[in-house]
Symmetry: C3
């Protein structure tokens, strides 16, 4: 049975949502609760005890797996629960891309986006063809004429990156035996912009056949790079044998200068439109990871095509979402979208 058929058989009056117990799950379960949807927490080996400390962020039930890859074998359980999977970064990572794509459970959003998001070259093709300004790629290290960040392929979570100030510095630091990419180091201040695109809501900021929202903004906090300055400059740290790392440990709330909002919406709209041309559309929450330069221009270094953990700051609303509906979180917005689609018999437009 295909996903559309499965959903066609769902009881639209008792939809539940399901996700893996990590990343932004407290917010997702809390959002479902606020909208009156049931929730299922998919947990590894045992029921995580910490949810007991958060009665409003706890799922209604747990589904325990000893291997995330086996979720598909239990698809019927989820079908019986009229469940829709809310994929977040950890869910996709736990399952693996291949298993995620094969998952025989209705999933919020368009799974086809994964291919375009996870492949650096396709991601660049998408964003650049949408008119976004990405960091320059330096093909030949001899052309390094400004600071660069060098990323080994497969480097996980910000380890295995290094900064090189010039060609000489690059030569000193590079392990040529490992495949890598050399990228311009963006100079400016970082803003991680949390959007939501609905293909079925026709009010608000219209894009394509739907509408676009800005729900919140954060700045990622990365160990050790974001607090290294308390000890010394990167160069000084390297001299002490300490390498900078870029591993996300948390998030700090932030707002952008209001005069930049037209650009924020323009960027979001372009990315959505282009997604429809390339692979049938991006649906629901996404994040553009940007640097604002001294010319007040946005440079975009990455896109996350689903809920990002930075939204966890805004479980009770943000300076942006409060202008839509007081207290609105991204998790709640997802639940609203599903609820609205279920009520209007449009679920097939927002799931795959």
């Amino acid at each position: 049975m295909g996903i559309e058929e499965i959903v066609a058989n769902y009881d639209k009056k008792s939809i539940s949502i399901a996700t893996a117990c990590s990343h932004s799950s407290l917010q997702i379960f809390n959002g479902a609760r606020k909208e009156g949807l049931k929730s299922i927490g998919i947990a590894f080996k045992e029921k995580p005890k910490f949810y007991n400390a958060f009665p409003l962020g706890k799922p209604d039930e747990f589904f325990i797996v000893d291997d995330y890859k086996k979720i598909n074998e239990n698809a019927e359980y989820f079908h019986r629960k009229n469940a829709i999977i809310i994929p977040h970064g950890s869910f996709v990572e736990y399952l693996g891309a291949e298993n995620f794509l094969k998952l025989n459970i209705p999933t919020f959003g368009n799974r086809a986006v994964l291919e375009w998001e996870s492949d650096r070259e396709k991601e660049r093709q998408w964003l650049e063809s949408a008119g976004l300004d990405m960091p320059e790629i330096i093909e030949d290290p001899k052309d390094i004429d400004k600071p660069v960040i060098v990323k080994y392929y497969g480097a996980k979570g910000g380890k295995g990156f290094f900064i090189a100030k010039d060609y000489k510095d690059f030569k000193k630091k590079i392990d040529e035996s490992k495949p890598h990419i050399i990228q311009e180091f963006l100079i400016g201040t970082r803003y991680y912009i949390h959007y939501f695109y609905s293909p079925i809501k026709k009010d608000g900021y219209r894009v394509g056949k739907g509408s676009l929202q800005l729900l919140s903004i954060d700045r990622r906090d990365e160990t050790n790079i974001d607090e290294a300055h308390r000890l010394g400059s990167i160069t000084e740290l390297e001299a002490m044998g300490i390498q900078p790392t870029f591993i996300v440990t948390g998030n700090i709330p932030i707002v952008l200068r209001e005069s930049l909002l037209p650009k924020v919406f323009d960027m979001g709209a372009r990315v959505v439109k282009r997604s429809y041309e390339l692979f049938g559309g991006m649906i629901g929450p996404f994040c553009l990871e940007t640097v604002v330069t001294e010319k007040l221009q946005f440079r975009v270094f990455e896109i996350s095509a689903r809920i990002v953990a930075g939204t966890n700051l805004f479980i009770s609303g943000s300076p942006y979402s409060d202008l839509i509906q007081p207290g609105l979180s991204t998790g709640q917005r997802i639940a609203q979208e599903i609820k609205y689609a279920a009520e209007h018999d449009m679920l097939e437009e927002i799931i795959t």
Copy 2:
């Protein structure tokens, strides 16, 4: 007709507020809405589309101009709407000081403050005579005996500033042909303190004939200085040909050590009192831009005599304003003040 006469003719039961569509306008329109006042968004050339994404931050109507300087030609429109202009930094900048001062539309606050705020020397005269501790000015570069920040006159938005560590560094960097000012570089942590002074409310923290509130505190986020450390120290960046810049791109929420609050109110009270002696008073929101030193002393490097963009973080309240009224923003506080004055026939005390 003078401003007082215009306001005397206003229908006090249907006051509206108006401001330019930028800076802190979402918050100002949202605040008006919360207090039941109508709002007018003054926009350049076309209705900005992004307000559609924020139903609770959208003005009730737009007034489109092809040149901000022509607002005055349309004063009658605003009179008919019983409109009071809420000036913010961008509004004043778009109009220009001269046009702002001549504007024949009732304006919240005392316009005379502009002269004292925009002229560096008058600003210093005001704040120092109020007893605030400002950064030292170094007249003769040869006297530079600690780090300084050098500002070329007319440098806009934090570009055209540079830091010099000593006289030698200064000589290397300065373009002597351009007029400039040499200021002590303040060492400490920055707090941008958002106050509100009401000349008509007699409860609370009494100052002069009115009362003073602390509504929120932020830290400005400036490109590229605030994230430059991810690449290297300022000196190292300069060696790579990258100059530090101080252009505000956003704001981060923060609270101050509670034991500093008596000083915070004392500073605010002194500035307000002195404003009455010098130019008839400062009314409504203002911001002291401070550095807290290792001796827990405040050094004040600037005053903004109107709503600042840092308040945009606190559209649904702050750790300070929530102790006044849960959810109170500076935008809402402005609307409250106007509403209260209209109801008590005191508008002439808070507008010019």
Copy 3:
């Protein structure tokens, strides 16, 4: 009369709370108000005027002392008010440890914790025996093989600390005549985790006979270390004659990566359990001050065994406490605990 007897005589229907007018007092008074408890602000010499600006953070009455040490002489006043002291860092500091321990007024929490928290060696014994990973102590400076922070004994509030990159740097900076401790400098990002342990609530995340909550997380903002990078690296500053200092001036809100929450609760639970074994238990709010390393491990450099000022950010709730009860602050949680204990005749279990 002992504390238990005093409390036994209290009118459980009109309990009030009392604390010194500083640190986190606005939040504590606001929390009491939300829960319908009366509050008493203990102030030095005069009623602090700034509370007038915060009607919802103002105590119901003030008790003025000309010397904090004399509170005990006025114990009867507090008994008559059925008052329970909420100790915070400044309260304990103003009174002095000895006077605090002798205070003949019921006090929220277990006073015995003070001995274990204020003595560096006992604190280490407690936390390490609970299985927490603390920074290494270097006994012999010749063994310095990584960056260290050197703290002179009795250095107050972060002054009198210095960073040394290696043995040579240490030798250059140390004043050997002063007793000091040499500690590994932790490399990573700082998270100050605000917990609450209730020995009388049996729902939620069970620990011992009670339950543990995570209420919020902040990052302390320290002058001048946290903004020094705007001028130069620490080494460059030292060359300009500027020493880094670590004096807390405020707090910034932050959230942790959700996948770290199981560790967060595990650490909190271990510390609480061990506190019962060592000294009869730690009750109410406490804070673990941590650094998250590139291996996503927590290193704990300090514990505060009472309400910390970082909770002042969350006077109307946090991304964590909102999942317990929307808008819940640590101050309110304290008031809830006292109210619940009073209603269930269990006050003696949470006071000393």
